[in-house]
């Protein structure tokens, strides 16, 4: 297929259609608005459904309904809107329904601003809403990955019957890059025999979608089965390392830079500049933030002597890196917020301070 | 076979059927059900017209009504 020049948000929208998603429910908020605008135009052309909801709360509950009826369905928003969706995400996780939720992160807390940010890492990877649950969190770093990860996200969602959260940011959403659209996937709603409204001849009992389990034993059993599913997801990404993480020049690295999303692009440049200056730097870029690639980072901590985590926040993912490193080596942090995207020069300075402290 | 059949396990003893029976032939039974309620009971089935007002008044659909076929 030919390369086309697209905005990240639009590439994600087109990829969703290629993935067989025909239902979008959302509410306007910057900087993700290109995505609903794109789907409002495209979905009717493929007999799909686009509904502008009255709120993010309603939108995620429409997703809950559509997912319970077997649809490949998605919603998108930016940080404050994702906060509003947490109630619904908790229900979707509790009822074990597949869907895609896109967060084009902006600055917070509160209304913050509309600039790119990575300050929703904790919210995304810790569950976000109430209860003992996990969402599978993916972090693309290019317009191409906005498209590729979207196809993968719908597959993961169905495979694990779990919500998948795409953690993007204002830069990735709005920037334009050439992209090769992935091949379309067929989707058959009747493949989900558990879905409400399934009327196949093999249906023997009514279908129920719920997250309420009143008995103590009943709820513990449910939570235990969720926990076991999360272990299956974790094992899947351990076994498929290339899907979970990108490593760059790590083999002989003394200092390993860690960053996700747009930051990882800058870190790659920093690594290359370090190498030119004789500093053995490497890069670890988690593509999946939950489950976090702890094992890989732990192994690297046996070889490398230092870690520097860079985020567009005052330090969220750095906690997961520290947990993975287990105190074996020092973990440094550099972050900018408010919409500031750190330059390679700034980060290089930080590397210098760490590597050559005198 | 009776015209008036109650599933005592469903009866909660609210008394609505007893009050609404036009023939006033329903009353709380002396005995208690496993749920601890005095269920509704038929006192004189010969007077029952099978009007089903009691059954339709029952929030727990505990009563079934039959009519003699002519």
């Amino acid at each position: 297929m030919a390369k086309v020049l697209m905005k990240g948000n639009e590439a994600l929208g087109e990829a969703a259609i290629l993935a067989g998603c025909r239902y979008y429910f959302g509410y306007p908020i910057t900087p993700q608005s290109e995505l609903p605008a794109y789907l409002a135009k495209r979905l009717p052309q493929v007999d799909g459904v686009f509904v502008q909801a009255e709120s993010e709360v309603s939108a995620i509950n429409m997703v809950y309904g559509a997912a319970s009826a077997g649809a490949r369905v998605m919603t998108s928003s930016s940080s404050p809107g994702i906060s509003l969706k947490q109630e619904g995400i908790s229900y979707i996780a509790g009822a074990e329904l597949p869907c895609l939720i896109v967060n084009v992160m902006r600055g917070g807390p509160g209304l913050g601003n509309i600039n790119p940010s990575q300050s929703d890492y904790w919210q995304a990877t810790r569950g976000g809403g109430h209860g003992d649950y996990r969402t599978l969190v993916m972090a693309p770093n290019s317009v191409q990955e906005m498209a590729d990860f979207t196809l993968a996200a719908f597959e993961y969602a169905d495979r694990f019957r779990n919500p998948v959260l795409m953690l993007s940011d204002g830069v990735l959403g709005q920037m334009m890059e050439p992209v090769v659209m992935p091949s379309p996937k067929d989707y058959d709603i009747d493949s989900k025999k558990w879905a409400l409204g399934y009327t196949g001849k093999d249906k023997t009992a009514r279908n129920l979608c719920t997250s309420i389990f009143m008995g103590q034993e009943e709820l513990e059993e449910h939570n235990w089965s969720l926990y076991q599913k999360y272990q299956v997801i974790t094992d899947f990404f351990k076994a498929n390392k290339e899907l979970a993480v990108e490593e760059y020049l790590c083999d002989d690295a003394e200092i390993i830079l860690v960053g996700y999303g747009i930051i990882s692009r800058i870190l790659k440049t920093v690594v290359e500049k370090c190498r030119k200056r004789g500093i053995k730097a490497g890069l670890v870029r988690p593509k999946v933030l939950w489950p976090f690639p702890s094992e890989i980072i732990s192994k690297l901590a046996d070889k490398a002597s230092k870690f520097l985590v860079v985020e567009m926040s005052y330090g969220q993912m750095v906690e997961d890196v520290k947990l993975a490193v287990e105190g074996k080596k020092p973990v440094y942090f550099f972050g900018r917020t408010g919409g500031a995207v750190p330059s390679d020069f700034e980060i290089l300075n930080e590397v210098d301070k760490i590597v050559r402290p005198d | 076979m009776s015209k008036w059949v109650i599933n005592e396990n469903l009866c909660k003893g609210c008394g609505i059927c007893i009050e609404r029976c036009p023939m006033k032939i329903l009353a709380f039974a002396e005995h208690l059900t496993p749920k601890g309620v005095h269920p509704s009971s038929m006192t004189d089935e010969s007077k029952c017209t099978s009007c089903a007002i009691c059954a339709k008044s029952c929030p727990d659909v505990a009563i079934q009504i039959y009519k003699e076929e002519k």
């Binding site: 509950n61 429409m62 319970s68 619904g88 229900y91 409204g197 979608c209 | 909660k12 339709k56 659909v61």
Partner: protein, 250 residues
Amino acid sequence: MKQVFGKTKVLSANPTHYCPGCDHGIVHRLIAETLEELEVADKAIGIAPVGCSVFAYDYFNIDFNQAAHGRAPAVATGIKRTRPDSIVFTYQGDGDLAAIGTAEIIHAANRGENITVVFINNGIYGMTGGQMAPTTLVGMKTQTSPYGRDAATMGSPIRVSEIIATLESPAYVTRVTVNTIANQMKAKKAIKNAFTLQKEKKGFSFVEVVCICPTNWGKKPTDAHKWLAENMLPVFPLGTFKDIHGIEKA
């Protein structure tokens, strides 16, 4: 002997958890009988709310979704848009629909979603132990209005049917009650009208049922029915507020 009244197969055999005399059981039965009579039970999908009827799914032999508090109309929207040939209804109380779910009900109605909403209005929060609802009468004492609802600081009862009827899109908006057999028959007709319209893809239908809550009103069920007629109905008058297809005359 011929059976003249029995339990519809659309209702499950489970005993309900509702209090003695509670109207939920009556309204459940009217819905279940309607689904059976319209021959749509096999493609019906209910949405249970949060509140006393949170376990409504246990009492129907049909597909069910259990929604978050107030969100049932949004969930119904997602289900119906995905499966337009199914028969989708929400079953919601006054806390769920008229307080926390105000936005969801107004906008589902305004989009003209082809769903049916059954709204149970008993003027109080039942499940949580009898707190003030948006529909609580002025002067009525509840756990959270222990001196009686004061209109000056707590507002007056919200008349949801009248509000919904001001919108262009809804096809059918009506208020009924089940406090007597005669009123129950009218309620059944209204519920059947609502589901018939949905079956014919004629748009959003809304049936408000003014109900009793004997436990939290502190009254015997039989007294509660009389209290409803004397106190609730003057504030929530029965009647049809919108019927754009004239189904009541048909």
